[in-house]
Amino acid sequence: MEDEGGAKESWEPKIIGFFCNWCSYAGADLAGTSRIQYPTTIRIIKVMCSGRVNPQFVLKAFQEGADGVLVSGCHPGDCHYIEGNYHARRKLTLMEDLLEFTGVDPSRFQMSWVSASEGQKFAEVVTEFTERIKKLGPQTKLSGGEG
């Protein structure tokens, strides 16, 4: 374990992003090809649809030491599979309740809609989220070896 006090200066949050193939991942790609700067704190995992994101993924990410989890998909109405993001929205809203219950600050979890043309928005979302997680500090509730 790193010494939290000593490591504070250089501590960079680890954020796991679950991005949908059709909109948000393409949006992140656009940010890259357009040379828009965004924090390197995010590790993106591509899923075919935000509806694919199982709440278990989020829990597991926290358990494995993620400091924040970001789920992103197409805007409502724009889902490649017509309604996957609506299902994601319902399913993942429950996450907030569950996280509160587990003692993890629910604001460590975020959902956002990013389309394929929104490279700039992607960069903004990641920047804002990183700032928020930096203020909250490392997530230790679920990442200990005892659970």
Partner: protein
């Protein structure tokens, strides 16, 4: 809807016997007072009906578990409201064919775990006082129960509000063919009395959730809460709503062998055995919260006496509250996590 008077429990047995004799159903699932105690049984011989105790206030597990994937043959089942709700919920999840069931459900005024005492007569306020004197506890789940009257079922039996005896209500009058039942009316004071009990129980529930929240307020208490879990899977197996044919925790990802455990341990330097107890419980919470009927079967079968019901009361209340849904009250209602509305939860940007 037809409403009829049943003078006593015997009259209810007559209804069951009639269904068997007339061949409306091939069997009746009902509690029976046998030589080895009171147990749930399936009766096919009408002569055995006299041995039954359909309204015995006993609960050791939720019998809806055993009705999953029912076949093509008709069966009548006498169940408690929480079991009836589980049946309705499973119907919506396509796990039970209610067309092949005659669900008979009576008002429930609390149940007792058979290991605490074998009581065959239905509970009344007077009887409850007697139990208190003998220090036989009513199950915790029942003392905080909000839905103790029959949900949507084929035959409902009402006890609350009547002056002795029961009122039988049904939409399927063909099930009573050949019986001469006196028509009756749902007592006018029933609703008020039901609300009174509900209010009392709700207060107790709120206190319970409040105390749990207090307990879980400080860091790492959830790990502490589940620390005795041995992953025996009893809570999962005896949960009527946790119905998956293949559970994640029986796949290679969830049922770790030593190689994977070593791998996991290596990332943190230490891994608790059995692994993932918190992940296990939280996964169950995610999967079941929207359909939980709060019967307390999980807590009843937990060999380590983890107060699981407290957790479910808290989570179920939040989740079902969010979608304004009460699980199992109706048979045809969209499930909260299957349906969606285009304009809702608009705080996601």
């Amino acid at each position: 809807m037809g409403t009829y008077i049943l003078e006593n429990e015997e009259a209810l047995k007559k209804v069951l016997e009639n269904m068997l004799r007339k061949g409306m159903v091939e069997g009746v699932m009902v509690q029976t007072a046998g030589e080895s105690g009171v147990f749930t049984s399936i009766i096919t011989d009408p002569d055995f009906i006299s041995k039954t105790a359909p309204l015995a206030p006993l609960f050791s597990n939720n019998n809806a578990v055993f009705l999953q994937n029912n076949g093509t043959r008709n069966i009548a089942v006498v169940v408690k409201p929480c079991e009836a709700r589980a049946i309705n919920e499973l119907k919506k999840l396509n796990q039970i064919n209610t067309d092949k069931l005659v669900v008979i459900c009576a008002d429930c005024q609390g149940t007792i775990n058979p290991r605490d005492g074998l009581i065959t007569e239905p509970l009344t306020e007077a009887k409850k006082k007697e139990l208190e004197k003998d220090s036989i506890p009513i199950r915790k789940a029942c003392t905080v129960c909000e839905h103790f009257t029959p949900p949507e079922v084929d035959i409902s039996i009402m006890a609350i509000g009547t002056t002795g005896g029961y009122i039988l209500a049904t939409d399927r009058e063909e099930l009573l063919d050949g019986l001469e039942l006196k028509a009756g009316e749902i007592p006018s004071g029933r609703n008020a009395e039901v609300e009174k009990i509900r209010k009392e129980n709700l207060e107790k529930k709120e206190k319970m959730v409040e105390e749990l929240d207090k307990k879980l307020g400080s860091p790492d208490t959830l790990v502490e809460f589940f620390k005795d879990c041995i992953r025996c899977d009893n809570c999962r197996d005896m949960c009527p709503i946790c119905y998956c044919k293949q559970c994640y925790f029986e796949t290679p990802l969830g049922d770790l062998r030593t190689d994977e455990m070593l791998h996991q341990a290596a990332t943190k330097g230490i891994l608790r055995i059995p692994p993932d107890i918190l992940f296990y419980q939280l996964t169950r919470n995610i999967h079941v919260a929207a359909g939980c009927v709060e019967c307390g079967a999980c807590e009843e079968v937990c060999p380590r006496d983890i107060p699981l019901l407290d957790v479910w009361k808290s989570i179920t209340g939040n989740v079902q509250g969010l979608f304004e849904y009460v699980s199992g009250m109706k048979r045809d209602e969209p499930l909260p996590l299957v349906g969606f509305k285009e304009s809702e939860l608009e705080e996601v940007k």
